[in-house]
């Protein structure tokens, strides 16, 4: 039994396994299958200052080893979350992190200010990388100066651990990560989904209502590993790795490339109990490799 306790951005996690926003609802949907308190934490569905209906149906295309979604941040807004949803989660003995998105800087700042006041929200993950909203979203995460600006403004009002979620849909993810670090982020999480498209050849139409969407699942893992590896060499703040983690071995690969923590996303759809298997699998791997502490494998890739 190695020590899996992980410290990141001022947070203490029982183990380095979180769940990714948008794949885990508000956690309670999984309580028939797993003990939520065994998780290092979970990140709730992407939340925006104002309620959003999201995009029209169809929002899903299955692709080889993955899926493309075009949900578009359907949610009831920060105030509703704070008043109605968070109180049900606040007593859980794990980190319930809020993913905050927006379509303008003012919305990000106001949402962050409201969440800063909620004592039982331990951290926020600032989503500057959603490919499925027309205004803002990924736009903030594709230009270093815009990423810097939004993170700096949020940093001014948000005094707890601030994680910033990055998009892979850029020429240099390292540049964005550096800008975010300079603006005061405590950690970066990467990658959000890969901008993608699916076509129905017989009907000669796009499958998604929005034509393009975000690819996730096993198919994106090689891209995500590359991004984590590049960012690990570009910034000093800790990295949360995600993108196509389907099992414990995948999680270990991210940690070897430099991720201190991982998020499990789309795999929750295929096996709602996968996070427990990943925690056990990491533990077993560390034992097998004679490691006493999880930190020993972070960035330990031999090159």
């Amino acid at each position: 039994m190695a020590n899996l306790t992980t410290h990141i951005a001022g947070l203490t996690l029982k183990n380095p396994v979180l769940t990714a926003s948008g794949t885990f609802g508000y956690g309670t949907e999984f309580s028939d299958f797993i003990d939520l308190e065994r998780l290092g934490g979970f990140i709730v569905k992407g939340t925006t200052l104002h309620p959003r209906q999201g995009n029209p149906y169809p929002r899903l295309a299955e692709t080889p080893s993955g899926m493309i979604n075009a949900v578009g941040l359907q949610n009831k807004g920060v105030a509703y979350y704070i008043e109605h949803i968070h109180p049900q989660l606040a007593s859980l003995k794990t980190n319930v992190i809020v993913n905050l998105s927006g379509s303008c800087i003012e919305d990000y700042v106001e949402g962050a200010r409201m969440l800063n006041e909620v004592e039982t929200v331990p951290a926020i993950e600032l989503n500057i990388s959603c490919p499925n909203v027309k205004a803002g979203g990924m736009g903030f995460g594709t230009k270093p100066e815009m990423a810097f600006e939004v993170v700096k403004e949020v940093r001014n009002v948000y005094r707890k651990p601030l994680i910033v979620k990055l998009t892979p849909n850029v020429t240099s993810i390292s540049e964005i990560a550096k800008a975010v670090e300079d603006a005061g982020a405590d950690s970066v999480s990467l990658i959000n989904t890969v901008l993608a498209m699916a076509v129905d050849a017989e009907r000669q139409r796009p499958i998604l209502s929005t034509i393009t969407g975000g690819l996730s699942g096993a198919a994106v893992k090689p891209i995500a590993l590359r991004c984590v590896w590049q960012v690990y060499h570009a910034v000093k703040i800790p990295i949360i790795g995600l993108g196509g983690i389907m099992n414990a071995t995948d999680a270990i690969e991210f940690m070897l490339c430099g991720a201190r923590v991982v998020e499990v996303g789309t795999a929750n759809f295929i096996d709602p109990a996968i996070t427990m298997k990943i925690i056990d699998g990491i533990d077993e791997y560390l034992d097998r490799h004679g490691c006493q502490n999880i930190s020993e494998i972070v960035g330990a890739l031999k090159v």
């Binding site: 948008g22 794949t23 885990f24 609802g25 949907e29 999984f30 028939d32 299958f33 569905k45 209906q53 999201g54 029209p56 149906y57 169809p58 929002r59 899903l60 299955e62 692709t63 080889p64 080893s65 993955g66 899926m67 979604n69 949900v71 359907q74 699942g217 096993a218 789309t266 929750n268 759809f269 295929i270 096996d271 709602p272 109990a273």
Partner: protein
């Protein structure tokens, strides 16, 4: 209702036609099958098929608690269902169930006559629904439609539960049953005032046609008079991915967790 992830073993795979088959399954570990409500569904894991990434949502066709068997009626349509159609006795299948909210069984059901309307593979949830309604004391009739009578699955099973009425587009018929040419909405049994509640599952145009037909009926003013089961494309089956939404009068609702069954009053049809 509590949900389970369970490994099932195939007891039998009965091929009904070139596209339709019934999987009869029992839990590998011998545990009792969970209680399922009429109209709920299961998410089936399809392994070793590169084109298939997500689970396949399939209606619960029948739960035989005496034999401890779960029956799934499936239509071979793509890579996932093709793989499932090749399962043989003793093969294993990982299933998450029971999912979603099923058909309403009214409190006064023992005084009621239900008409269950199905088309194509959409007849699947109606068998268990018929059994549960009958158990509650209700009178049950089925109206089943297809292109031809050969395409209407499990007629003998439905006949064990209630009266069966048939429509076929090609006019083909089944001995001893009231078969009429046309669509289900054209069958003479479907008349205002004859049934106390209607439950529908089938192709979208069929469900919409039934909904439009009954929308002007006096009985339709009652809640749950007519319910339909939708099958929007979904990923998780648990109400977390928000992919399978239906645009209802109350905003986007997840077919997997708010449905799959909806009162037609709530839909924007």
């Amino acid at each position: 209702m509590k949900k389970y992830i369970t490994d099932f073993m195939v007891v039998a795979n009965e091929q009904l036609s070139d596209r339709l088959f019934v999987l009869r399954l029992t839990p590998v570990d011998g545990s009792r099958i969970a209680t399922c409500h009429a109209g709920q569904f299961a998410e089936l894991r399809v392994d070793d098929e590169p084109q298939v990434f997500l689970r396949r949502p399939i209606s619960i066709h029948r739960v035989d608690y005496d034999a401890n068997e779960l029956w799934l009626l499936i239509q071979r349509a793509g890579h996932g269902t093709s793989k499932l159609s090749g399962l043989r006795a003793r093969d294993l299948l990982n299933i998450i169930y029971p999912l979603g909210n099923g058909f309403t069984i009214d409190e006064q059901s023992q005084e009621m006559h239900y008409l269950l309307i199905g088309g194509g593979v959409g007849v699947a949830p109606l068998l268990e629904t018929g059994y549960q309604l009958k158990l509650s004391g209700a009178q049950v009739s089925f109206l089943l439609g297809g292109r031809s009578c050969a395409e209407i699955a499990q007629v003998a099973q439905f006949c064990k539960v209630g009266n069966v009425y048939i429509t076929t587009e090609d006019g083909s018929s089944i001995d001893g049953l009231d078969c009429q040419r046309g669509f289900v909405t054209q069958h003479s049994v479907l008349k205002e005032g004859r049934f106390d509640a209607i439950r529908v599952c089938g192709p979208l145009p069929m469900m919409k046609a039934v909904a439009h037909l009954v929308s002007s009926w006096e009985q339709n003013k009652r809640p749950h008079f007519c319910e339909v089961s939708l099958e929007n494309k979904m990923a998780c089956g648990l109400g977390v991915c928000l992919c399978c939404v239906e645009d209802t009068k109350d905003g986007h609702k997840c077919v997997c967790s708010d449905g799959p069954v909806f009162d037609i009053h709530d839909l924007k049809w």
